[in-house]
C-alpha cells in the first residue's frame, strides 16, 4: 500500500511538514491521536515505550508523557493544546521539560498544527506542520528525535547481528 509519506523541511521558514495517509476511517485515526491509551501504543519508537502522566484534551489543557527506554531512561514530552476542532484539527505548543517532567515555561517552544481529512470515506490523511520559534532551537527539538533515532538504529543493528 502506498501511504504517501511526506517529510519536508523549510529551515528558512522554520517549518517541518509531515504528512501520511492511513488505511482507516477518520474516526479511528482521530481516536488513535486523542485517546492516551491508544497514543501510548504507537508514539514511542520500539523498544521505547510511552507512559502518560497527564492527558487533558481540552483547549488550554496539557499532555505530558514520558518516552521510556528499556533501561528506564525517561525523555519527557510536554504540550499544551491551543485549539481543537473535534474530529478534524489539533493545535498545540510544545515545550522542553526538566528531568521530572516540569515544563521550562520561558524556554524555546514549538508549535504543531495537525489536520485530519477523510479520503474516499475509508482512508485518512494526516497533515502536520511543526513551526519553531527560532532556527537555532530546531536542533534542540530535533535532538530528541535524533537520540531516539540513534538508539533505534543501534537496537535494529543489534537484532540484525543477533540473527546472523
Amino acid at each position: 500500500m502506498t501511504n504517501n509519506f511526506v517529510f519536508e523541511t523549510d529551515l528558512a521558514a522554520k517549518k517541518i511538514h509531515v504528512a501520511r495517509e492511513f488505511n482507516a476511517p477518520i474516526e479511528k485515526v482521530w481516536k488513535a491521536f486523542t485517546d492516551p491509551d491508544l497514543l501510548e501504543k504507537w508514539i514511542a519508537p520500539k523498544p521505547w515505550r510511552a507512559e502518560t502522566k497527564i492527558w487533558d484534551f481540552t483547549v488550554g489543557g496539557i499532555s505530558l508523557y514520558a518516552m521510556v527506554s528499556p533501561e528506564g531512561q525517561k525523555h519527557w514530552v510536554y504540550a499544551k493544546f491551543t485549539a481543537i476542532e473535534n474530529g478534524s484539527a489539533i493545535s498545540s505548543t510544545g515545550m522542553f521539560c526538566d528531568g521530572d517532567g516540569n515544563p521550562v515555561l520561558d524556554g524555546p517552544k514549538s508549535y504543531r498544527d495537525t489536520k485530519f481529512s477523510s479520503i474516499d470515506g475509508n482512508k485518512t490523511k494526516v497533515d502536520m506542520v511543526i513551526t519553531f520559534e527560532e532556527e537555532s532551537t530546531i536542533k534542540m527539538f530535533v535532538e530528541g528525535g535524533f537520540k531516539e533515532g540513534t538508539i533505534m538504529t543501534h537496537n535494529n543493528l543489534d537484532e540484525l547481528l543477533a540473527s546472523e
Binding site: 529551515l11 479511528k28 501504543k41 504507537w42 537555532s136 530535533v142 535524533f146 538504529t153
Partner: protein
C-alpha cells in the same frame, strides 16, 4: 560549548543563508561575496567570519586572495539531524498502521 561552533548558528540569519546559497555556485573572495549584498562590506565580512567559526565555510588561500568555499560535510550535519527526525515519524506512523489494523 562554544555556541559559535554550532552549524545552526550559521543558518540562523537570512544574510548568512544567502551567502551559503551563493557559495554553492563556487568559491568566492570576500569582496565578490559583498558585491552581491546591499549591506556594508564590514557587515558581510562579519557574517563570513561567523560562517567560518561555525565550520560552514573553509578558507582557501590562492595567491594573495582568500577564497571562501562551502564545507559540504559540515552542512550535511543538518541533514543527519533531519534524517533522524524523519525516521522517527516514519516509524511512529508504521506503528500506528499496525494499531489501526487491530482497532
Amino acid at each position: 560549548m562554544d555556541i559559535r561552533r554550532d552549524i545552526y548558528q550559521a543558518i540562523a540569519d537570512p544574510t548568512r543563508r544567502a551567502i551559503l546559497t551563493l557559495l554553492t555556485i563556487g568559491a568566492m573572495t570576500p569582496n565578490a561575496i559583498a558585491g552581491h549584498f546591499d549591506s556594508s562590506r564590514q557587515a558581510v565580512s562579519k557574517h563570513i567570519q561567523i560562517l567560518a567559526e561555525c565550520g560552514a565555510v573553509d578558507q582557501d588561500q590562492r595567491g594573495r586572495e582568500i577564497y571562501y568555499k562551502l564545507n559540504i560535510d559540515k552542512m550535511k550535519e543538518i541533514d543527519h539531524w533531519m534524517e533522524a527526525f524523519r525516521k522517527l515519524w516514519e516509524i511512529r506512523f508504521d506503528q500506528l498502521d499496525n494499531l489501526l489494523n487491530d482497532l
